[in-house]
Symmetry: C2
Subunit: 276 residues, 2 copies
């Protein structure tokens, strides 16, 4: 039985940890310094508490990192500093160049890395359709780990960075177009032409867009870092980063809706235009 | 019978001129210095040749300006310099702040302006659904001019700048999202993950997107200026201009496809990645 360490049991991470238990692994998490909400999620997901991070690192053959983009480097550095020599899944929404840096750090320390990118929501059921895209020489080990679990696996290539690039390219449209539509509605509101724009858009597109913009706001705060990673990904390929620098700006204006019930469109536009 | 001067009979302009003849006006254009293709379009549209621009300005009670964003100021300046004191429709895709500058220039010279923004393709038939949005104190005069024509009219408000803002907000999504998708496909191509992205997108969305990106390239060269106007519009409202600065960059990379037959997606991405 493979022992796996999960960092961290957030909404997505907990479902990935649970998926690994379905695949037959024993999955650890570390409760030290974590909230009651995280403990509850970890227990529901069937994870075992290793207590501290050094215990988790010592006992795990494989470590899964699922965390916000801003924490990626610190998490990997912490694992390396605790002497980890196993297989590390870097499963986060970061630019391929940063993924390759993390890979270098882990490799230099005698560990091995698989690049991963998750597309979709928390993977509690096969029907969620959530895909963990993986790349790198040891990608198959991660595929085996999740065999028979609700998480779909796809090997992108043998190259570290490819899974990250795919994740960035996919999120570039889903989240980027939501940011663009948010900005356009704020512009139309600011110029006093929003009703005319909505007539020109038609009822269905206008209603769908308003719902989409409002529903996104609770998570907008944590998309800021991801938009910055996407901008860096475009610039790394000599393509313009401006779309997603603008998207980061849009989402940062919506950060006040963090974990709030879905606001109406007027409140979202008011916040974006700094009217609140 | 109202005499109207049209500047210029391009693809869109010719259809607007023809629409004004349907509304019962006599519509002039000026052949001096124009190409044979323009003459052919003007004749098909039922326009009368005033010969020179000074003849056109002298004889016209109303002037319609339909031209690329980069020519807007020179066209208005030229009309003012020829002593025009009538009603001027500024019907182009420019930022509201620039529209207000043009209005100031015309008003100072004793003329009057209506702000206009055209949404849709050339308006040869009512079913095209093309709308000329107008704003300003004399918007109703323009509405009357096109009564019974294939062009749909909508009065946005009494404010100069409102019709421009609406046009900018609408094009911000149609053209902005096409630019975004072009950039994403180029990114995926550059990172060697385009096939995986297309699988993740699904067959229909991938095929629709490829068609849309390729079909846009023949007109991309003239969207560069419009994207810059949209970026300025966002910035004028204290919103991020980065989406459309990036879109201008994307379209400028596709400028080589000007008036070419629709290329395949691989050629478009090659040009964007400067591989050709």
């Amino acid at each position: 039985m493979t022992t796996v360490g999960l960092i961290n049991p957030g909404q997505m991470g907990a479902s990935v940890g649970a998926a690994a238990t379905h695949g037959g692994a024993s999955v650890l998490w570390a409760s030290e310094g974590r909230s009651d909400a995280t403990r509850e999620r970890a227990e529901k997901a069937g994870l075992s508490d290793a207590g501290s991070m050094d215990q988790l690192v010592e006992k795990s053959e494989i470590i899964l990192s699922v965390c916000p983009p801003s924490e990626v480097a610190a998490v990997a550095r912490g694992v390396v500093d605790l002497g980890f020599k196993g297989l590390y899944l870097e499963g986060n929404a970061i630019a391929p160049a940063r993924t390759r840096e993390i890979n270098q750090m882990l490799t230099d320390a005698g560990a091995e890395m698989v690049d991963g990118g998750i597309i979709g929501g928390p993977a509690w059921h096969k029907e969620s359709g959530t895909v963990l895209h993986v790349s790198g020489p040891s990608a198959h080990t991660i595929v085996n780990l999740f065999e028979g679990s609700p998480l779909h696996l796809n090997v992108v290539s043998g190259d570290i960075g490819a899974a990250s690039a795919l994740k960035m390219a996919f999120a570039a449209y889903t989240k980027g177009s939501t940011a663009l539509l948010s900005a356009i509605l704020a512009l139309a509101e600011s110029e006093g032409v929003r009703e005319h724009l909505q007539v020109q858009w038609g009822e269905k597109f206008s209603a769908d867009t308003a719902r989409r913009v409002s529903a996104n706001t609770a998570k907008a705060w944590r998309f800021v870092g991801e938009m910055e990673e996407i901008a860096a990904t475009f610039e790394g390929a000599d393509l313009p980063g401006g779309f997603h620098q603008a998207a980061a700006d849009v989402f940062s204006r919506q950060a006040g809706f963090k974990d709030q019930p879905t606001p109406d469109l007027e409140s979202v536009l008011g916040a974006m235009l700094k009217r609140d």
